[in-house]
């Protein structure tokens, strides 16, 4: 079933759990009444307020930290410095244990905390932070690719952290090489070679909820509240760093107010944990928006693409060289480089590919996961390269994609999952909807681009489902619902499988003391991997109900089928509820099911595992450009994602349109600007602009391709990153179509477009 998410409210207000419909979001009522509690809202009577102490430099040597004046501020309880932490300084990080709980001896980015103050009131904490006197001197810092890569550049990371690494004496954290085929041989067959270098700037997640954390002593252990996407991962980090058993570390993860990857990995939770244990009381840290911009961002990148095409437009080879500017601590940034590179040649059948990508350390905000996970940067380059090629070849951009896209079932990356969708369908639908083939209005240009990203490469999620005596259901799932609607999906699955109305299903998330293990919420994995776990748990319940029915009805279990809330006996069928009522009998009780979603690791694979599925999106746009000012007007915007099955149509639409607008942000207006020393100049919302309701395309249309060809429940694939991937190259292609200018750096701000137009005019005169 293909479908477009309907805009009309349903007649049945959210009671139908039907898969593919648009029942109201589970958890929606809390969101529209203001009752939902985010981390900053959690009431804690005796919590101390925490403020971080930083120094005003991208890199500094830290000397003596004088706490005396701060401790004299009324209300200040605790001034935490490295002296108050174990020695050597505990370090953590998902890829390298490089990040200290507090910077010791040296700060490595502007905003790297050297101390933290806990006080009775926020005012006292702020005053206390002002009164901590830190002796420091600036050190030379590298904050650009060229700076970090220059011979003799100061090293960001201590080489001793990776003693056997040939790159240890450089700021290259890792180099990744992928590829197949013989480029040189393929080059012989080539009619046209198109190459170019593209830049993708530093941008930041800017979730509307700034980061916030709470920690409290909890019996002999610790309880930490964090809007983390990975509660179990955080639990492990804390347990290790505190020397506590997992069972003594409780992570409570309220729904994040937006995350987009920035809330995946531990940042200040370890610091707060130590402070809570030292203070003997809960402590709460709420970052300002400015501090949040100093905590998380996307890797910036410089990408060189060189592609060879045969005269029929088929790709003969593609070579990519990408450098990503990551931050001072590795976080998960190198993984974004690896994953973003591995598929960056695109969803195409290409005989020869060579990719080299490097993650380059710098004295800047640690870059981390951000929707798209390293892919948008290279897709910007590769899809722009395709657009340039289409012009040189004289083959239209849509046709060029159709000729080269891998077919479903075709292996397009040797050793990895074959193409798992009819990707040409998404392209054709997008092209048709934008009216490709018919002339654009005068002065308008059209552009099209595709984006591919591999889903999770490994995965493990557990789920528990309890079918209660009256047929209502409780689902336990460790996924983080950060707006993508995971809670609703799992409720829909349980409702559908167990025959409960949707509002008879409760989903419990976000508490490691209660909810079973989930590896993480990332890579658009949760509908598939956790979805399958929930589905399996429901099937486990169904199996038990089947046994119950067999016993009650004195019919062999093989003759009974339990599915979609019904028990089908020979000759009749009953709702599950009826069987339960009789089957539980005098002792009452409930039926519990356990389920698992698993994707095994493959140690031989460069990424540790093959793709569970791919996200694929085609975006087509129509724009006009005010040639006097450089303003781009987006008249029409079409986005088509290949999703297997849209489990909740309204939520899928919300995610895809949200991804489109977020993509328009980095395409048209977002960029973190550094000063000459490397500090971010535009911290906060006055000078870091994201799209508002006045910045929307005149029309935006989102569609999904549903061929039931995903590995998730009912044929679903993961989604919600795909629609972000091709936004920039689609818009740039449309600008090129409208004006003739090719721009290879982002954002396409009015000024940048204006400059390109003036250069074009100057060229024309020459």
């Amino acid at each position: 079933m293909t479908g477009r998410a309907g805009a009309d409210p349903s007649g049945g207000r959210g009671h139908e759990p039907d898969i593919g419909g648009s029942p109201n979001r589970v958890g929606g009522i809390g969101r529209v009444t203001g009752r939902q509690q985010y981390v900053a809202d959690i009431p804690l009577d005796d919590a101390l307020h925490v403020k971080l102490v930083t120094v005003d430099a991208p890199r500094a040597r830290i000397g003596f930290i004088d706490k005396a004046a701060a401790l004299r501020v009324p209300g200040v309880h605790l001034v935490m410095t490295p002296d108050d932490l174990p020695r050597p300084m505990p370090r953590f990080g998902p890829q390298f244990r490089d990040r200290p709980v507090l910077a010791v001896g040296e700060t490595k980015f502007h905003g790297d905390p050297v101390a933290a103050v806990a006080a009775e009131t926020l005012d006292a904490a702020e005053e206390g932070a002002r009164q901590v006197h830190v002796a420091w001197e600036p050190l030379p810092a590298v904050t650009t690719l060229d700076g970090s890569l220059a011979a003799g550049a100061p090293l960001v990371q201590d080489p001793e952290l990776r003693p056997d690494d040939p790159f240890a004496g450089t700021n290259v954290l890792r180099e990744h090489r992928y590829g197949w085929g013989d480029i040189e041989a393929a080059a012989a067959d080539v009619h046209v070679v198109v190459e170019g270098t593209y830049e993708f700037p530093m941008v930041t997640q800017f979730a509307i909820e700034p980061h916030a954390y709470v920690a409290a002593p909890d019996g002999g252990g610790i309880a930490v509240w964090s809007a983390t996407q990975h509660p179990n991962w955080l639990q492990r980090v804390l347990a290790t760093i505190l020397g506590l058993p997992l069972a003594r570390v409780r992570v409570l993860s309220p729904d994040p107010g937006g995350a987009f990857g920035g809330k995946q990995h531990a940042k200040y939770e370890p610091l707060l944990a130590f402070m809570a244990l030292r203070a003997g009381r809960p402590v709460r840290l709420v970052l300002t928006l400015e501090e949040t911009f100093q905590a998380v961002r996307r890797g910036a990148a410089r990408v060189h693409v060189r592609s060879g095409f045969r005269d029929d437009g088929r790709l003969a080879f593609r070579e990519i060289d990408a450098d990503y500017l990551i931050g001072a601590y590795a976080d998960i940034a190198d993984r974004t480089v690896a994953k973003g590179s591995y598929t960056s040649a695109g969803p195409y059948a290409i005989p020869a590919v060579r990719i080299r990508a490097r993650s380059v350390l710098s004295h800047t905000v640690p870059s981390t996961a951000f929707r798209g996970f390293g892919n948008p940067q290279q897709i910007w380059a590769v899809e722009s390269n395709m657009d340039e090629a289409s012009r040189v070849l004289g083959i239209y951009p849509v046709e060029l994609r159709l000729r080269n896209l891998a077919n479903r079932g075709e292996t397009f990356i040797p050793g990895d999952t074959p193409a798992d969708g009819i990707w040409t369908e998404a392209v054709e639908r997008a092209a048709r909807r934008i009216g490709w083939g018919s002339p654009a209005p005068a002065g308008h240009g059209r552009g099209i681009a595709v984006g591919l990203k591999s889903g999770p490469t490994t995965g493990l999620s557990h789920a528990t489902v309890r079918l209660l005596a009256d047929g209502s259901v409780v689902v336990y799932s460790g996924t983080s619902d950060m707006g993508q609607g995971a809670r609703t999906i799992f409720a829909q699955i349980a409702a559908h499988e167990l025959g409960a109305p949707l509002d008879w299903v409760t989903v419990v998330m976000g508490d490691t003391a209660v909810v079973p293990y989930d590896q993480q919420t990332s890579a658009s994995r949760s509908s598939v991997i956790m979805g399958n776990a929930v589905l399996a748990a429901c099937r486990d319940v169904q199996a038990k109900v089947r046994a119950m029915a067999a016993s009650l009805e004195d019919v062999p279990a093989e003759a009974i089928v339990v599915e979609a809330g019904r028990v089908r006996l020979p000759g009749r069928e009953l709702p599950i509820r009826d069987v339960l009522a009789r089957g539980l009998g005098r002792l009452g009780g409930e039926v519990t099911g356990l389920g698992e979603g698993r994707k095994e690791a493959d140690p031989e694979h460069p990424l540790g595992g093959t793709a569970a599925f791919y996200e694929f999106n085609c975006t087509a746009v129509e724009v006009s450009v005010d040639e006097a000012t450089g303003d781009i007007t987006v008249h029409r915007y079409v986005t088509v994602s290949d999703v297997g099955r849209a489990l909740n149509a309204a939520q899928v639409r919300g995610q895809d349109e949200g991804a489109a607008i977020m993509g328009l942000g980095h395409t048209l207006m977002e960029r973190l600007l550094l000063d000459a020393d490397g500090r971010i100049r535009n911290l906060g919302a006055i000078d870091y602009k994201i799209p508002t309701t006045l910045d929307l395309p005149a029309s935006i249309e989102s569609e999904v391709v549903e061929n039931g060809d995903g590995p998730g429940p009912y044929g679903a694939k993961g989604m919600s990153e795909g629609a972000l991937l091709p936004v920039a190259p689609a818009i740039a292609a449309a600008v090129r179509d409208a004006t003739g200018v090719v721009i290879r750096d982002l954002p396409l701000s009015p000024e940048r477009v204006w400059r390109a137009l003036r250069e074009r005019d100057a060229e024309a005169v020459r």
Partner: protein, 287 residues
């Protein structure tokens, strides 16, 4: 924020007395600039004086001898919506309508916009074009400042630290008038302007243009030749006049929002568009 005291005087002389007694005190009207400054530490004040309960100050827009008197507490929402301002002082209504968002406009006052003296302020070019007067009262009594004597540079005006704006007066305009406000921003959503222009074309053919965000203060220039208002004049001819009017533009090199080159180019582009629009509106207007 660092702590400060707040006074909410109910009459003007009490307010003036408080100002005189504490030279570092700041006046609070809409708060949309002051509170940001207090929070980020760029403004330090031990005392904040809320002007909104001062009985001599009001939020009205009153007719006065063919012109208008705008109270010190009048917010942008009212200015943007007032039919008299929209009809005769259109550039001011348009400037007020783009000051931030609805939430900001419900609070930000015209007087506050003047006193804050940002070179990029959206209403000050229009006030220059219409020859507004700013009435202030201090310990020595009342003064009337012509608007083109008010702005010195960013954050600095000729209003003394112990004076309070009581009203802003718009003089009557003889005959038909057409005016507009245009600006450059980084997105269509609200933003601080990197070029801001108000233009008015009068019955006499005089064209008055004020431009901001391209130097430390907004500047007023007048073309009395009638060249800009002449529908028969070529774009090239009009650009020559505009270039002359814009000769004192001095955009700062260090701005994040736009480069000097772009700003100067946009001055010309927007200047021509503003003049065209203003002239067109004059044709459509009543005397």
């Amino acid at each position: 924020m660092r702590a400060f005291a707040v006074a909410q005087p109910e009459d003007l002389s009490e307010a003036i007395g408080l100002l005189a007694g504490e030279p570092a005190a700041r006046l609070l009207a809409g708060g949309t600039d002051l509170i940001i400054g207090l929070r980020d530490g760029s403004i330090e004040a031990p005392l904040v004086i809320d002007v909104k309960r001062i009985r001599e100050l009001d939020a009205s827009i009153a007719n006065a001898g063919g012109g208008l008197v705008i109270g010190a507490r009048t917010a942008m929402t009212e200015i943007a919506a007032d039919p008299r301002i929209r009809a005769r002082y259109t550039a001011l209504a348009e400037g007020a309508a783009v000051v931030g968002s609805v939430q900001i406009r419900n609070r930000a006052t015209l007087a506050g916009n003047v006193c804050n003296a940002s070179p990029a302020a959206d209403t000050t070019p229009a006030l220059l074009v219409f020859g507004a007067t700013v009435a202030v009262r201090g310990p020595a009594g009342e003064r009337s400042l012509p608007i083109d004597e008010v702005f010195v540079r960013s954050g600095v005006t000729t209003i003394r630290p112990d004076e309070i704006v009581t009203r802003i007066e718009l003089p009557p305009i003889a005959g038909r008038v057409g005016s507009t406000h245009v600006r450059r921003t980084r997105r269509r959503g609200h933003d601080l302007a990197s070029v801001t222009i108000a233009a008015a074309v009068l019955e006499s053919g005089e064209t008055r243009i004020a431009y901001g965000s391209v130097g430390p203060r907004p500047l007023l220039r007048v073309d009395s030749t009638g060249a800009l208002a002449d529908p028969g004049a070529s774009d090239a001819a009009r650009l020559r006049v505009l270039d002359d009017m814009f000769a004192d533009a001095a955009p700062s090199a260090g701005s994040m929002r736009a480069s000097p080159e772009y700003r100067l180019a946009m001055l010309r582009v927007l200047g021509l568009r503003a003049v065209d629009a203003a002239r067109g509106r004059r044709e459509g207007s009543k005397a």
